[in-house]
Symmetry: C2
Subunit: 233 residues, 2 copies
């Protein structure tokens, strides 16, 4: 019974909370559940790598996954962080291309793999599902375009403040306003598109300005409206 031990429980691999699957009929949802396969992923493990062939997309039911591209000199550019309820790898899959990003676990995760055939079956048979998928892609596209404008026009200081606020929106704070996602300075730099040292210097400036408090990788928000001003939104 070893395999049972190594598989997530039904609750942990439940996809009924995913907004994207809401339009499915009972039959379709059963088919999905039958054809998916779920696994644990340890921190640091790679789900798929840039340039590899994808056999399906993934639904994240637990944990946090970093999606990034490898640019000049192997420097990472973080595209987004996926959180429970998000789907990943669907873009390259739909375009019939090799993966153009790498996905790496940064918080112990549970992912359900859904084969390509299941995806195309659902697209072909459920127009509501297609439309949902289309809307997810459009939302990401808007965010990407917004980010291009920011990165092209804003200073590193403004971008860092904005990134902190975006993280706050996507990953809740605890009771003391502390961000519940733990990133290295380098990862922050790779989101902002700057050098690690610049992030470090700016973070301590933010701390001096009483906008945030730092405790190792924990970031506590003290003055959100102040940060918003710095971000120049």
């Amino acid at each position: 019974m070893r395999s049972v031990v190594n598989r997530p429980t039904p609750e942990e691999s439940d996809l009924s909370g995913f907004k994207i699957f809401k339009p499915l009929s009972e039959d379709e949802f059963n088919k999905l559940n039958y054809e998916k396969s779920c696994s644990f992923y340890k921190k640091g493990s790679v789900i798929y790598r840039e340039g590899s062939r994808l056999t399906g997309f993934y639904c994240l039911t637990k944990g946090i996954v970093k999606i990034y591209k490898t640019g000049i000199d192997g420097k990472e550019q973080i595209i987004r962080f996926a959180k429970p309820g998000d789907i990943i790898a669907y873009r390259s899959l739909l375009s019939n291309e090799l993966a153009c990003t790498t996905a790496k676990v940064i918080d112990e995760a549970i992912l359900c793999h859904v084969p390509y055939q299941t995806l195309t079956y659902l697209i072909d048979n459920n127009t509501k599902f297609s439309l949902h998928l289309l809307q997810i892609a459009c939302k990401e596209l808007k965010e990407a375009n917004d980010y291009i404008t920011d990165i092209a026009q804003k200073t590193v200081r403004e971008r860092l403040a904005e990134v902190l606020l975006i993280l706050k929106e996507n990953f809740d704070l605890d009771a003391s306003n502390t961000l519940q996602i733990s990133l290295t300075r380098e990862e922050l730099a790779n989101m902002v598109g700057t050098a690690t040292e610049s992030v470090i210097r700016l973070l301590s400036e933010f701390k001096q300005d009483r906008l945030i408090e730092l405790n190792g990788r924990k970031i506590k928000f003290l003055d959100i409206s102040g940060l918003t001003k710095v971000a120049n939104i």
Copy 2:
């Protein structure tokens, strides 16, 4: 018969060459043609403006349209140029949002407006059409993500070389290798995400290095592999 004079001819407003409409049945295509409405747009005219409500999307049958966002201090960030065969404004329309870009004509254009209801009808009734649309969005998303990586990691010099190569891919060259799209230095700067003066200086460096030749706004490619090296692709 005044309206006839001001309307594009049937040939000029023909949508049968659009890849996205290939999956339509004859009935669907007829419906599309019946419900579309086509017009001329002079250079400099605005098709829709950031923040406005969209009533449909547009098919570009002739000319060139610049799609841009307005950032800090009203500085434009150019997202892309649309050319004949492209559709525009579909993203905000599908997301049910106000337009988040402005579309302005830079080369005398003919555009066909397709109402929102026609779009949703086609999505609901033709899964192949939905899939095509999804793939267009995914392609744009990939390009946006690639561009984020570039703009975050590359120098202005590298980005300008890359932008020139992208323009070459999208807008053919004439017999003498001259780019068939005429942009101001400021527009180039707003693509690259830099200052107008920087573009001017770098262009003359490229000219000195015998990579390109300049004649007003005409840009002639002399050494494409050299440019590729500069672009660091």
